[in-house]
Symmetry: C2
Subunit: 238 residues, 2 copies
């Protein structure tokens, strides 16, 4: 976490700096906005997969809240003075690819995707938000903290596992697959969005890459630990 | 349209009468609420099928408005003093069956289901609402009138047909199939919900069934005419 004086980029969390940081901040908002839109689609699909009215109603309400979050991100991008379409559009292929490669076979796998998959992308967003200005960081934190959603989904999955303990092995494997796909897509984001990668890694691949790599390793360790915690919350092997 | 004095049911539009009418009104609200919930699921699925951000955003917004409508119906049922779960739950198998039998193969067929399918169920709801009390009729009318939604979907389908005129034949057939499935499910609703059938048909199958049958034929004619108009709006053979 050293300041990249040559390019004028702040790489220390919480320090605001240049226009390149604004570009990274816009990229971050784009990524989070698109993740919220896809969380809406995922949860609405889960509502359709549900066979009880109670689950349909609960999942539908959570889905619509994700859509509201998406709209809030769009609004913030407009405030900054950029067109949400330009910013968000670039992530659509990445997230579409994720959903295609990790298509659930039933409601349980769908709920895992909503909880585990969206959990990973929220952690990823929060990690990056440590490197942008405090106002955006706070906005992102508030947006990504949504305990009600998690609580409903966790209790639904745990109940299903009590009724059918044999599903635990399949779901544990599914969780690992979701984590693998999420990391693959995160790498793709880093490759596609150099501004975003630079504020985290501290330099566009020059001499500072040692410090950046160490920090990146820490981020990966935290993402993995949070994922394991979520799997344990579900009563599944991480 | 004669008053069924023996059972105390009003069968003339706009005339409020007995507790059996309240049962029919609750059935109607249940049917409409469930149709709104399924419209949410249909439109959210269409948002996921869309490949442009613009369409995802527009369809997601319409989907969430349908969910709001569903919540409004739930609220009204609670006001009347009944549990929405009890009332709406009975329609879940009927609407699930409709969606299973009329599963779209692509976004265009999905949008047809949202416009044509939901259009038929809205017409059906409005027809029945003529037989319940004015307050509920007005509530139902306001809920089911949603020109913004239709306009976006119609213009999307028309644009797609301009780009690919060859799809018109397939979509015209699909529209006819949607109408057929909707009528089959309407018959099932009439069979499953006798209170609802009685206020429309004027009697539970006794001597008054002649007058009821004539009125039912008129309703069918109006539903068919409205369906043809929607197909023509899309530039498709009805």
């Amino acid at each position: 976490m050293v300041a990249d004086a040559e390019n004028g980029h702040a790489v220390e969390p919480g320090v605001v700096a240049s226009e390149a940081d604004l570009a990274a901040e816009i990229d971050l908002l784009g990524l989070i906005g698109c993740a919220e839109l896809f969380a809406f689609e995922t949860l609405a699909r889960d509502a359709a997969l549900a066979t009880t009215l109670e689950a349909k109603v609960a999942l539908g309400a959570i889905a619509c809240r994700e859509y509201e979050h998406f709209a809030m991100v769009s609004g913030r991008l407009i405030e900054i003075g950029v067109d949400p379409e330009d910013v968000l559009g670039v992530y659509v292929p990445i997230l579409t690819d994720f959903h295609r490669k990790a298509a659930p076979r039933d409601l349980l796998e769908g709920l895992m995707e909503a909880y585990v998959g969206h959990g990973i992308s929220a952690d990823f967003g929060r990690e990056i938000s440590r490197y942008v200005d405090p106002g955006t960081r706070e906005f992102v934190d508030q947006l990504l903290t949504d305990d009600d959603r998690s609580q409903y989904i966790v209790s639904h999955i745990r109940k299903s596992l009590r009724d059918d303990p044999g599903a635990a092995g399949r779901l544990a494997l599914w969780g690992r697959r979701l984590m693998g796909e999420a990391l693959a897509q995160a790498q793709r984001v880093a490759a596609d969005r150099p501004d975003l990668a630079r504020i985290v890694l501290g330099g566009s691949g020059g001499g500072e890459s040692g410090a950046g790599l160490a920090e990146f390793t820490n981020i990966l360790a935290r993402l993995t630990a949070a994922h394991s915690e979520r799997m344990q919350n579900l009563g599944l092997a991480p």
